[in-house]
């Protein structure tokens, strides 16, 4: 509900060809494949080595969702500890997060809880998060089982996917799911907000026991 109705986005919307703009953030430990994942989604390309992201970078992709053109501005972040303060500054404006770990790296999985806390601290409560275990093509080197990933996701109340940017497994699905839950959340918050709340005109015992009311056009 936050940014979709932002005037800033609406201004952009007038300039360009889309109905909504969602700002998404990919976070997770260093070297879990965030940049590769984003390149696979946005450019459908894969290189075994991208330069380690310095600070923050982004890509854009427009998708169609429920007859609406949704422009995704996806911010890719540096995973190094030292960049935390810089990247967390961007959390507040994000509507969705892709929290990524590397199934071949225990440490990156153990850090998920910590990343989650960061999201809770630095973003608004309505931001949506998807947990992603990347590099699932490297079955031989896998150290985090799918079950553990699932379990953790349940525990944290997140959606869960295992993906491979290299083999293009589930990459699109992750983004589509994230966009869906953001859309759901948006309409939900619109529904739950009756702009016309019944005016509780209190009944008063007055000289006129027939109070004027809207239905009576006399």
């Amino acid at each position: 509900m936050a940014s979709a109705s932002d005037s800033k986005w609406q201004k952009d919307a007038a300039d360009q060809n889309f109905d909504y703009m969602f700002k998404l953030l990919i976070i997770g430990n260093s070297s879990v494949g965030k940049t590769s994942f984003l390149f696979r989604y946005a450019d459908d390309s894969f290189t075994s080595a991208f330069v380690s992201t310095v600070g923050i970078d982004f890509k854009v992709k427009t998708v169609f969702r429920q007859d609406k053109r949704v422009k995704l501005q996806i911010w890719d972040t540096a995973g190094q500890e030292r960049y935390r303060t810089i990247t967390t500054a961007y959390y507040r404006g994000a509507m969705g997060f892709i929290l990524m770990y590397d199934v071949t790296n225990e440490e990156s999985f153990n850090a998920v809880q910590d990343w989650c806390t960061q999201i809770k601290t630095y973003s608004w409560d309505n931001a949506q998060v998807v947990l992603v275990g990347n590099k699932c093509d490297l079955e031989d080197e896998r150290v985090v089982s799918t079950e553990r990933g699932k379990q953790l996701a349940d525990q944290l109340g997140l959606e869960f996917f295992e993906t491979s940017a290299k083999e293009n497994i589930n990459v699109k699905a992750v983004f589509e799911r994230l966009v869906d839950i953001i859309c759901d959340k948006m309409s939900e918050s619109l529904d739950s907000d009756p702009t016309i709340i019944n005016n509780p005109q209190t009944k008063r015992l007055t000289e006129n026991p027939n109070p004027q009311n809207a239905g009576c056009q006399c």
Binding site: M1, A2, S3, S5, D6, S7, K8, N29, S30, S31, A42, S48, A49, F50, V51, S52, T53, V54, G55, I56, D57, F58, K59, V60, Q73, Q80, R82, T85, I86, A89, Y90, R92, G93, N105, Y122, W124, D125, S192, D193, P194, I197, P200, Q201, T202, K203, L205, T206, E207, N208, P209, N210, P211, N213, G215, C216, Q217, C218
Partner: protein, 957 residues
């Protein structure tokens, strides 16, 4: 051919329409249109819906449909009012089973309530007919006693109990139907339309002036006609002021030819008004004033100068300042001795004599002391010693304080979640106090002028604190939290700057001026125009400016104690002579260099090429940013586009921090390589492998990851350009001088309306806090309302830009004051009822529920009626009011006035008496079938109304 034939048929149909002689006169056309509408609304089906449940006329959803039509050039509106929408008709046909039960319902009626007369009626006939014919909806509704005296609905519904009816009324206010002939003409039209369409829906016409609410109507069904007639008088005719008289009218109206022994059922309602709550005074400010007045400020157009008189050289300085700021941002070394002067003057000292100031000096000092409590001690010892803020609108301010204090206890704990979502400021912050003060100042000390006066003082204090390095009280230091309002973030930023400046000055051995000059500004603030303060601070900033722009000040200030402290490290500081051949490409710093700026060893890690522990260097903290800065920054990054070059450029733009870290690292670790740096900075880019040597021993060898080895990547490039420079000798990543000036400029250049706008989030926060503090806010309906307000407030505060017009603030403020009204009513009622409750068996929950219902529902049932505890309380309240009316003292003179007391009824005369009379009668002739008759009567002081629905048999007359 095909074309030809179709076009011909078109022509034919056109001609056919023109020669339509059936609607020749205006009158016929009017009736035709009315019929058309009846058909369009599908009113021709005989609705035979289920019976109304109790109270349904009030609780159900009404639907209104409106059409306009003309009689010559006289415009009418036809409106249909229908309970639960017209959906009922769909199931109207088919379920015959309901039929008999509804007709029985009519017969049962007479057992209810008061009875008059006795004996037989023609019920059986109706029942017999009921099997064959449909009982019209109108009859059901007229005779159903489930919905007598509904609370909120159309007056025709209240008078006749109808759930579906049509009203024909003049569209224009001025064109009332005053003549009888016109009314008759309309009634005939309606009759014809009803006949032609055989619709069973009652149609009313409104006659006479609107406010009289006089309607005539009719309904035709099953060989009966029901005519709705009305009498409206200003005074109650004496002979009809009681029920017997009304019964006479009813019987006369029916005028049945059969000896009338039929039962007449009567429903009665008397209305009493309790106006004198004599025992309880309830002084209460009109709600929402403070907030609503403040919101208006956000739309004011005046400039500060217009409000407070011209400020010194305003226009000239403005341009100067912007130049000065742009000069500040230039990367070249600068020398700006005049900057301090320029900027200080630009903060616009008021050219205003103290006696002209909107806020008197003493009051201003009190307010400032409240806003800056840390200045209190100083002020007390000074001559200006004033008591704290007692004279300030204490009630409001202290309540804010108490809310801050009560944050810990259970009740408010629930709300912390709500408030965490608010984008305002912490309850104990400067920003919050300032907003509350501004609101009170606006209300009580002279509106916008006073607000701006205080704001000017506030800005001056901010500058004073920056120049004298006095931290702003209660701000969360260290990091800027973008979860707070922009104003709060700006103050946090200023505090960051002050803190950095403090530590810098401390390191350079300058005596902290804090204790000496601390808070003199506040107590001296009365000297606004005397120039003393002015020139003093100018001097100060000037001298400070000189020193702070000297070359050494450009460097980052950081704790260097680690340098000495860590000399207790495992190895000596002396770098060992290089035994291995270093990768000269990476080791650009000579290994003979002395290590500088070490923080601590990085575990027991050793450098690759040098037999030396790897040290984590002292590093510069990244520059803090407020949300507007971040947004600007992000926009610049986004503008570079998504191409590879763009990405590369972006990386370079953000590499300042990386460069600084690399330089620090090089300084701390002479002889180090990029690999060493990566092992500390990005460990996963150091790939370790076990290598089995020739002799079988396993050694761990490592290398840079593939991505770190990409030729020309940012990391290697920055590494190559990095010189070994410890953090304290690097250029500052965060230029606190520049940032502080930017904040101060932002504050001082704000328009009055902007000031108000930027304070709104805190004010809304304070208002919601205040409401939630009241325990009555837990009443169900208020809870709902508060929830709604909280959500709305959250959304409004998080909007990217505070915009008073588009922004939901005005609406939000309205809702808040409505909540306040409801809350106050609840409190008032609870207090009044609680006073009488002591000896009664009534829990506080029951009472709360009752009060909640009173506020929410049109009608509230009193459990146990007059004998229940609530009934008793109400009885007592009335009795007390009565005693007061008769000027009887509470307890005294009880014996004396004994007689009179006995004569005083506990209840006053009812302000309104209402009756509904119902019966079944045969009319107009003895052989007519029996049909339902009804008359509603209301008797008030200035209003007497009879609304009769009289049915006659049109078949057997």
């Amino acid at each position: 051919m095909v074309d030809f034939s179709t076009s011909r048929s078109w022509v034919e149909s056109d001609v056919f329409e023109i020669t339509d002689f059936t609607t020749a006169s205006e009158w016929e056309r009017f009736i035709a249109k009315l019929e058309e509408i009846i058909h369009e609304w599908k009113l021709t089906f005989s609705s035979k819906a289920r019976k109304l449940t109790k109270g349904e006329l009030t609780t159900g959803k009404w639907q209104e449909t409106v059409e306009s039509l003309q009689f010559a050039d006289f415009k009418f509106l036809v409106s249909r009012y229908c309970l639960n929408g017209p959906a009922d008709e769909v199931k109207a046909f088919g379920d015959q089973s309901l039929d008999s039960s509804t007709s029985r319902e009519i017969t049962i009626l007479s057992n209810n309530e008061e009875e008059q007369g006795s004996g037989e009626s023609g019920q059986s006939e109706v029942e017999e007919d009921g099997d064959k014919e449909v009982i019209p909806l109108v009859w059901q509704d007229m005779m159903s006693s489930e919905n007598d005296f509904p609370g909120r609905c159309h007056c025709l519904c209240r008078w006749y109990g109808l759930r579906d009816f049509v009203v024909l009324a003049p569209a224009n206010n001025m064109e009332d139907i005053l003549s009888e002939s016109r009314a008759n003409l309309l009634m005939s039209s309606v009759a014809i339309a009803l006949h032609n369409t055989s619709s069973q829906v009652p149609i009313f016409i409104q006659v006479h002036q609107r406010w009289r609410r006089l309607f005539l109507g009719q309904c035709i069904s099953g060989g009966f006609r029901t005519s709705f007639e009305m009498v409206h008088l200003k005074n109650i005719p004496h002979q009809h002021s009681h029920m017997a008289g009304l019964l006479d009218v009813f019987r006369a109206k029916i005028n049945s030819p059969v000896a009338d022994h039929s039962l007449v059922s009567v429903a009665v309602r008397f209305t009493y008004v309790l106006q004198d709550w004599i025992n309880y005074s309830w002084p209460q400010q009109p709600p929402g004033d403070y907030l609503q007045e403040f919101v208006l400020l956000c739309q004011r157009k005046e400039s500060t100068g217009q409000l407070l008189g011209r400020t010194i050289g305003e226009p000239v300085d403005d341009t100067d300042v912007s130049q000065a700021l742009s000069r500040l941002t230039e990367p070249v070394p600068y020398n700006l001795p005049s900057l301090g002067t320029v900027v200080t003057r630009a903060t616009s000292k008021l050219q205003m004599r103290p006696e002209e100031a909107p806020i008197p000096v003493t009051t201003l000092n009190e307010i400032l002391l409240f806003i800056f409590p840390d200045a209190k001690n100083e002020a007390k010892t000074s001559n200006n010693a004033v008591e704290t803020i007692t004279e300030l609108d204490r009630a409001s301010v202290s309540s804010q304080q108490s809310s801050a204090q009560s944050e810990g206890d259970g009740d408010s704990q629930k709300y912390t979640e709500i408030f965490k979502q608010f984008k305002s400021a912490p309850v104990d912050s400067l920003c919050y106090r300032l907003a509350v003060c501004m609101c009170i100042v606006n209300h009580s000390y002279g509106g916008l002028r006073a607000v701006i006066h205080l704001w000017q003082e506030f800005v001056l204090e901010m500058r004073y604190r920056w120049e004298n390095m006095i931290l702003i009280p209660d701000q969360q230091l260290g990091s800027i939290n973008m979860g707070f309002s922009l104003l709060h973030q700006k103050l946090q930023m200023l505090n960051c700057c002050i803190e950095r400046k403090q530590s810098r000055e401390a390191r350079h051995g300058k005596p902290s001026s804090n204790n000496k000059v601390k808070h003199r500004r506040i107590s001296a603030s009365s000297d606004v125009t005397e120039g003393g303060d002015d020139s003093e601070s100018q001097h100060k900033s000037q001298s400070k400016g000189d020193s702070s722009f000297s070359s050494e000040e450009e460097f980052y200030e950081c704790l260097e104690s680690a340098e000495e402290g860590t000399s207790a490290e495992p190895s000596e500081m002396v770098t060992s002579p290089e035994s291995d051949q270093p990768e000269s490409m990476e080791t650009d710093s000579g290994s003979t260099q002395k290590a500088e700026g070490r923080l601590k060893p990085c575990g027991d890690m050793k450098l690759i090429n040098v037999n030396e522990f790897l040290f984590i260097p002292v590093t510069q903290e990244p520059a803090p940013m407020t949300e507007d800065m971040l947004e600007e920054h992000a926009e610049v990054l986004a503008k570079l586009g998504t191409s590879a070059e763009g990405a590369n450029l972006r990386a370079r733009m953000q590499s300042a921090c990386l460069l600084s870290d690399m330089e620090s690292f090089k300084a701390a670790n002479p002889g180090c390589t990029l690999s060493d740096f990566v092992r500390w900075y990005s460990p996963r880019d150091w790939i370790k492998e076990d290598v089995v040597g020739e002799d079988g021993t396993v050694t761990v060898k490592g290398q840079l990851s593939q991505r770190m080895q990409i030729p020309g990547n940012v990391w290697t490039e920055v590494w190559q350009s990095a010189n070994p420079v410890p953090a304290h000798r690097q250029r500052r990543l965060f230029d606190d001088t520049k940032e502080a000036e930017k904040v101060l400029h932002w504050l001082s250049s704000m328009k009055p309306a902007d000031v108000a706008l930027h304070l709104m989030p805190m004010l809304i926060h304070a208002s919601v806090t205040k409401l939630l503090e009241q325990e009555e806010s837990q009443l169900p309906m208020l809870k709902k309302l508060m929830n709604h307000i909280s959500n709305k407030a959250t959304r409004a505060m998080r909007a990217p830009k505070l915009d008073i017009k588009r922004f939901e603030v005005p609406d939000l403020v309205r809702q808040i004051s409505r909540a306040e009204t409801v809350l106050t009513r609840a409190q008032s009622l609870l207090t009044k009822f609680s006073q009488e409750k002591q000896d009664l068996n009534l829990t506080i929950q029951e009472l709360q529920q009752f009060v909640s219902n009173l506020l929410e529902l049109p009608d509230v049932q009193i459990m146990g009626a007059a004998r229940g505890p609530l009934g008793t309380i109400i009885h007592r309240l009335f009795a007390a009011a009565q005693k007061n009316v008769y000027l009887l003292p509470e307890e005294d003179n009880a014996e004396e006035g004994d007689k009179t007391i006995k004569n005083i009824p506990d209840f006053p005369d009812p302000v309104g008496k209402e009756y509904i009379l119902r019966t079944m009668s045969q009319r107009p002739s003895p052989w007519s079938r029996s049909s339902p008759q009804r008359m509603y009567c209301v008797l008030m002081k200035d209003d007497f109304r009879l609304a009769a629905a009289i049915t006659s048999d049109t078949t057997f007359q």
